[in-house]
């Protein structure tokens, strides 16, 4: 059948027209609506959904609600927007908690249907005093920027199909590539089904990672790049999460948030992106190891849809760890290439790039997974010790390490700087033991999901009785491998994959053991202070199951390949078993996930600004219970006016009426890097109030405008430059190589 390419041009034309329409709409001025009124809530009496402004008429759009209020306590009430006349999903809003220091709300809501019955309501606990005042509703461009992004993505997709078609017209139709793309697409699709709902599974880490995304968004919106301190986190005090926990990949959902997507949507798009990347990277690596695209796809499915990865990403909401698992196959493939490939092989010469990319990805997503990866890399090096000292292989290893370092320096330098100079809580975590949090052997074999843990389980057996193992199928794959090896069936197999599979099986068993509560973590912790800190920082031994999964997938892939070459019927049976095993496990996971899906978040304000998980990156001694939204504080000799805080940038005019130096305490956590200057360029001294809150010293008789900024040290900037040069260098190297070929 003859194709009709003009259809795509028509679609592109329509998309372009709509995009122009969006841009025009964005360029138009936005409207705002002001309502006057006052409502005093009776103290001691609780109110639910009490309307303070009713019958508000608005068209489709994304709006910002600014309701002024006065209250004497924090988080005593929630302001939100309701409308019973619009369709389900036509109004998206979670509202905002009220704080005494803020004075007015400032949150967004999404309205997808014109209405005349919008109501601003208050849920009041009855504690403390509360009086609401005037209301201001401001129209934003977020609806149109959101549409613009969707249209641009659709246009890119059309362009990509056109490019592929043109490429095939020149080089000929490539059926294999189509099959692989289809396979990866199917795997990624199945892995992403949990994100096609309108809610999220309320995993233990979910809110923390949503705060990270919002932190990047807020940082970018207030002019920070790269975002080091999340400015609005910890009640607008600025939290140094970004310095310790790299947020590189979170720029994608943060940009989506800036473009007008809700939190749930941005998070879902990010996770879908992760799934696509994981499926593709896993296919690339396993195809490289086994040299077979079908086995590459099977291994990609076993890894991407693995129980442990699902547990971490979907059920726990451990975005950092889930993101890190995207890069694990690269490290395994890199190790395979360095130690098993012939030095004359073309693939061997790119091993440093694979290894470097894998490590850089791990460092910049989850340091703990990187720590575990480093341990396994050392173990691999020890077992291949002779090859480590072969110059060509050593050069690949060293180049990979330097490449990873170059790519990660922008993050590592601030991380090390803060870790060494700031007394953060994470440095005091050596007393926490982890062995009791280990899995039990039965969990490792768990294949099916269950939505509810019985009461008798809670608090017992490490209260982690979830299906967090690697699954029965992978364990059976490993056992078959050991049997084949032990009973002499693999004697005739002399290839590199076999040698690598033996090591993978051995370390896979070790990883499984290390994840359990029978591994002597407590005894290791007692050896020395460094061991105690390292072990304690792991938090959960089950993190080793990430490596357990990837190594067992490698071993299972080898077994399937052996059957493919030697016993066709077993090959077919193992493929069917893999599909059935994944489907059975997956169906139960879906059922479980649906039952636990109880979080739907649209705007950041609804989460509050205080949750910081284990408070790892607060300065040791900071009393987090005293932190809330606050205004600058000073004694009566200081007059403060025009106080403004935008992210990490603060400015205020002040006058010191006394002859001696006075102190202004600002609602900012005292991390290294803040600097205070006045409008004449004079540097003012900054001190710590003892509770690790920032103070500015105002000289006696001083009058002027003070500006407090977070200024990155020169060596941080230098590190960023090195990373930029490394990226540019590798792009240049890649293009040159491609042209040479």
């Amino acid at each position: 059948m003859k194709k009709k390419p003009y259809i795509r041009y028509v679609i592109l034309g329509i998309l372009a027209t709509l995009m122009v329409g969006c841009i025009i709409r964005i360029a138009m001025p936005n409207r705002e609506w002001n309502y006057t009124g006052s409502y005093t809530f009776t103290e001691g009496e609780s109110y639910a959904e009490e309307p303070v402004f009713e019958h508000i008429s608005l068209g489709t759009g994304v709006y910002r609600v600014e309701l002024s209020y006065e209250c004497t306590g924090d988080a005593i009430a929630v302001c939100t927007v309701k409308d019973g006349t619009v369709y389900q999903g036509g109004l998206l809003c979670n509202g905002e908690h009220l704080y005494s220091a803020l004075g007015h709300t400032s949150y967004d809501f999404w309205l997808y249907e014109p209405t005349e019955e919008l109501t601003v309501t208050i849920d009041y606990s009855g504690q403390e005093k509360l009086t609401t005042g005037n209301l201001r509703i401001v129209e934003t461009n977020l609806l149109w920027t959101r549409y613009l992004v969707i249209l641009a993505a659709a246009a890119l997709l059309v362009l990509a199909t056109m490019w592929l078609e043109r490429r095939e017209a020149v080089k000929g139709r490539n059926e294999q590539r189509r099959q692989i793309l289809f396979g990866i697409g199917v795997i990624a699709f199945f892995a992403s089904i949990p994100y096609f709902y309108d809610g999220m599974v309320s995993g233990a880490d979910l809110t923390y990672h949503l705060h990270r995304i919002e932190g990047v968004k807020d940082g970018l919106l207030t002019g920070q790049f790269p975002v080091r301190l999340e400015p609005r986190w910890v009640f607008d005090h600025g939290y140094a999460n970004g310095i310790f926990y790299c947020n590189l990949l979170l720029y994608f959902p943060a940009l989506l948030r800036m473009a007008g997507f809700t939190m749930t949507e941005s998070y879902a798009f990010y996770c879908i992106g992760l799934n696509i990347a994981t499926a593709a990277i896993a296919w690339y690596c396993f195809n490289g190891i086994f040299g077979d695209r079908i086995i590459g796809l099977v291994c990609s499915a076993l890894y991407t849809l693995s129980i442990f990865r699902f547990f971490k990403l979907v059920m726990v909401g451990a975005v950092g760890e889930g993101s890190a698992y995207t890069f694990l196959p690269l490290v395994v493939y890199g190790i395979y290439l360095v130690f098993e490939k012939d030095v004359e092989d073309r693939e061997f010469h790119k091993s440093w790039i694979i290894l470097g990319l894998g490590y850089a990805g791990l460092i910049q997503t989850h340091v703990l997974t990187c720590e575990i990866t480093a341990l396994f890399t050392v173990l691999f090096c020890l077992i291949y010790i002779r090859r480590v000292f072969a110059w060509q292989r050593f050069r690949q290893l060293a180049s990979g390490a330097f490449f990873a370092l170059g790519l990660s320096l922008w993050y590592l330098v601030p991380f090390v700087d803060y870790y060494l100079t700031q007394d953060v809580r994470i440095r005091h975590a050596s007393a926490r033991t982890i062995q009791d949090r280990g899995t039990i052997f039965a969990q490792i074999l768990q294949q099916f999901w269950f939505s509810r843990i019985p009461e008798s389980m809670e608090g017992k057996a490490g209260d982690l009785l979830n299906p967090i193992g690697v699954g029965l199928f992978l364990v059976i794959g490993m056992m078959i491998f050991w049997l084949l090896l032990f009973l002499g069936d693999l004697q005739k197999q002399k290839e590199a994959e076999k040698s690598f599979a033996i090591k993978a099986a051995g370390f896979g068993c070790l990883a499984l053991w290390m994840s359990t509560n029978s591994f002597p973590w407590d005894n290791i912790q007692k050896i020395s202070g460094i061991a105690a800190t390292l072990v304690s920082s792991l938090q959960f031994p089950n993190r080793f199951l990430g490596w357990g999964t990837i190594l067992l997938v490698t071993v299972t892939g080898y077994v399937i390949r052996y059957f493919q070459n030697n016993r066709k019927i077993f090959y077919q049976m193992s493929l069917i078993t893999a599909v059935v095993s994944l489907s059975a496990s997956y169906l139960f996971m879906m059922d479980s996930g649906v039952q636990e899906r109880d979080v739907t978040l649209y705007n950041q304000e609804s989460m509050g600004f205080g949750y910081i998980s284990g408070e790892e990156y607060l300065i040791y001694g900071t009393d987090s219970t005293k932190l809330t939204f606050a205004r600058p504080e000073a004694n009566e000799n200081i007059q403060i006016a025009d106080y403004e805080k935008s992210g990490l940038n603060i400015s205020f005019s002040c006058r010191n009426d006394s002859p001696r130096e006075e102190i202004v305490t600002l609602p900012v956590l005292m991390y290294k890097g803040y600097a205070a200057r006045d409008d004449k360029g004079e540097v003012l001294e900054i001190t710590d109030d003892g509770g690790h809150i920032l103070q500015v010293c105002i000289p006696g008789g001083y009058a002027g405008t003070v500006r407090v900024r977070f200024v990155e040290p020169w060596y941080w900037r230098t590190a960023e430059l090195v990373t930029l040069i490394t990226v540019a260098g590798i792009v240049f190297f890649g293009i040159r190589k491609r042209r040479q070929r």
Binding site: T433, Q435, D436, I440, F441, A442, L445, Q446, Q447, F448, F450, I453, P454, S456, M457, K460, A461, L465, P467, L472, I476, M479, L483, F486, L487, G488, N517, S518, P520, W521, D522, N523, K526, I569, M573, I576, T577, V580, A584
Partner: protein, 370 residues
């Protein structure tokens, strides 16, 4: 030659361990009621600290009833403020007012620098007169000997099997049948891999009968139960904890049932794969799994297996006569086994997650009530 040296080394090591396991008990702590301290916050009484090494310990309580004994009763346990994960394994004992003599077993898995006895009396005041001793028993060395013996037996067995396979003394099919049998047995034993005791509705009765057997109260045990109770009783006699002994019995019964079914069906059937599937069904079927884990009734499990063996043999013989020429496709066997394994794993996963979690090491929880 090398093999002989290895066997000799194994034998020597076992002989040393055997001799060691006949040593006497050592008293590591001794005190009377006047040497104990009261903890104001809890109202409990504690002894002074003493160090423990890995091994099996026994708390001995001797009371002088004439001078008040242990008062109105008490709970006693071995505790420590700081230990590695589950270094002290045991269950608190409840002592009634008329207790004259009591022994409570505790297992210590790692060195404990400062352990103490903790007593919670049922009422305050009144005269008491009792003595406490903590002694290290030889059970720990006996357990070590048995573990090493089993370990060497397994290693040597595997090595012999491997040699026979490599020398082609065992056929390819037989080799994989043996491996599959082990695999089937291991899958049937998945609920035993939890570190707690998966208690069925009748498990406590089984555990009690084991203790009656150890105490020589034969009249309280139905005769038929002796068919399997000797396994946990034997393990308990050696010194193994309650949960371990119970789990070993279940594992043993599963393995024996599988071996019996395979042996029986292989007499009638020629297709080894089909025989294997039929034998697997014998211990993977929902009834067998239910009787073994959900009910915790080994007797019913044995009856189920024997019933299945008889019924299966009859059906098999009848089918053999009618369809002796037909060969079953491997795909059918594969499909049956796949369905079977999925259902058994699902059932076992449910059992693991829905079972009551009990860490039982000594007989106190079900004999005196923890």
């Amino acid at each position: 030659m090398k093999k002989k040296w290895i066997l000799l080394a194994e034998g020597l090591l076992l002989a040393v361990l055997l001799v060691l396991s006949f040593g006497g008990s050592d008293i590591v702590f001794e005190a009377d009621h006047q040497q104990l301290y009261r903890v104001e916050e809890t109202g409990g009484i504690v002894s002074k600290d003493f160090a423990l090494n890995p091994g099996v310990y026994r708390i001995i309580v001797e009371s002088d009833i004439a001078n008040g004994g242990i008062g109105s009763g008490m709970e006693i346990s071995l505790e420590a403020e700081e230990t590695t994960f589950r270094a002290i394994r045991g269950n608190r004992a409840t002592l009634s007012a008329d207790t004259e003599h009591k022994r409570i077993t505790y297992y210590v898995a790692d060195t404990v620098d400062a352990a103490h006895l903790q007593i919670q009396p049922f009422s305050e005041g009144g005269n008491v007169s009792y003595e406490l001793k903590v002694e290290k028993t030889t059970a720990g060395r006996r357990i070590l000997f048995v573990i090493v013996l089993v370990f060497f037996a397994c290693l040597d067995g595997i090595a012999i099997f491997r040699r026979k396979v490599l020398c082609k003394e065992v056929s390819g099919q037989k080799k994989w049948i043996n491996c599959a049998m082990v695999g089937i047995w291991m899958i049937a034993c998945i609920p035993l891999l939890v570190d707690y005791l998966v208690l069925g509705t009748d498990s406590v009765q089984c555990l009690r009968e084991t203790e009656y057997m150890l105490q020589g109260e034969w009249g309280r045990i139905p005769a038929a139960h002796l068919l399997y109770l000797w396994i946990p009783a034997g393990m308990r006699w050696i010194g193994f904890p309650v949960a371990t002994s119970y789990k070993i019995m279940i594992a043993f019964l599963s393995g024996a049932a599988l071996a019996l079914l395979y042996f029986l069906f292989s007499k009638w059937g020629r297709d080894a794969r089909l025989v294997l599937a039929a034998a697997a069904f014998g211990i993977w079927n929902p009834l067998a799994v239910k009787t073994l884990y959900v009910m915790g009734n080994p007797g019913k499990f044995v009856v189920c297996v024997l019933g299945y063996a008889v019924l299966g043999s009859v059906v098999w013989i009848l089918l053999q006569k009618r369809k002796s020429q037909n060969k079953i496709s491997p795909w059918i066997v594969f499909a049956v086994l796949l369905i079977l394994v999925l259902q058994v794993v699902y059932y076992e996963n449910t059992i693991i997650l829905q079972s009551d979690v009990q860490y039982w090491y000594n007989e106190e929880p079900f004999m005196t009530g923890e």
